[in-house]
Amino acid sequence: MNALTALGEVLVLIGTFFYFLSALGLIRMPDVYNRMQTSTKSATLGSLGVIIGVGIWALGTDFGSAAWLTKTVVIAVFLLLTNPISAHALIRAAYKSGIPLWEGSVMDKYREHIEAKAKALEAAESETPEEGGEE
């Protein structure tokens, strides 16, 4: 039991705590958007803690080497880069497939933006055929 092992163990413990928190958020929150808010990011931070914690922990053991740390850092960076992308894809899928916001939500600027855009497009489309008809 040396300093590296202890530090790694503490990081892994923090990571598992955040895993736990993300699972709890998945159960407690009222709609899919808020579930995503509380769970995906806690899970990312939890993975960061667990994975880098394992890398540091292995350095303190007799079988560990520097390769453990670099490989775990690669996995952690990969998760850090890809997890927000999948969260973004999922929340877009939720919105586009028409799941309504929770009734306690206070505003929805995105709908206003989409409607304004559709109206502008419609206006542009309705103008062109009229011009074509006149000719």
Binding site: N34, K71, S105, Y110
Partner: protein, 176 residues
Amino acid sequence: MGEASKISRYLYTVIVLFLIWLLLTASLDPQELGFGLILSLIVAAFTYEIFSTGGLANLHPKRIAYAIAYVPYFLWAMIMANLDVAYRVLHPRRPIRPGIVHCKTVLKSDVGKLALANSITLTPGTITLDVDDENYFIHWIWVPDEAMTEEEGEHVKAASANITQPFEKFLKVIFG
């Protein structure tokens, strides 16, 4: 940012690929290094056209320094925001007030916008829902009072000050 020369883009791709090879193999054996170098030269010849438009200018020392300074700043923001969300999850009354807000950014390049969207998504409480040119639509778990105004300009200003501006000062230098 215009297109850099082909040589510069090719060299930049080779350097990045070789760094990835170094991290993945995690050994300094000369045979592995040589094979990795040959592989990066070959793969870069096929992929440099879609990999980067900036070329070696991306490795400017100022950009690298800002990128290194960005990592602890970002991790700190992420940890603080995670504790905030932990409070919301564990609180018995579940204090949430969600809404989709509208932000504007000053970043120009596509990679910078991607990095900003990812940073916003990873700091809990905010998820990027869609990006349309300079407009960011963000689902926010607790919309503060100053962003609750009906007036559009005020709202965008308040939301941008809270969400995008803390990251922009770094990302503006790193990605332009």
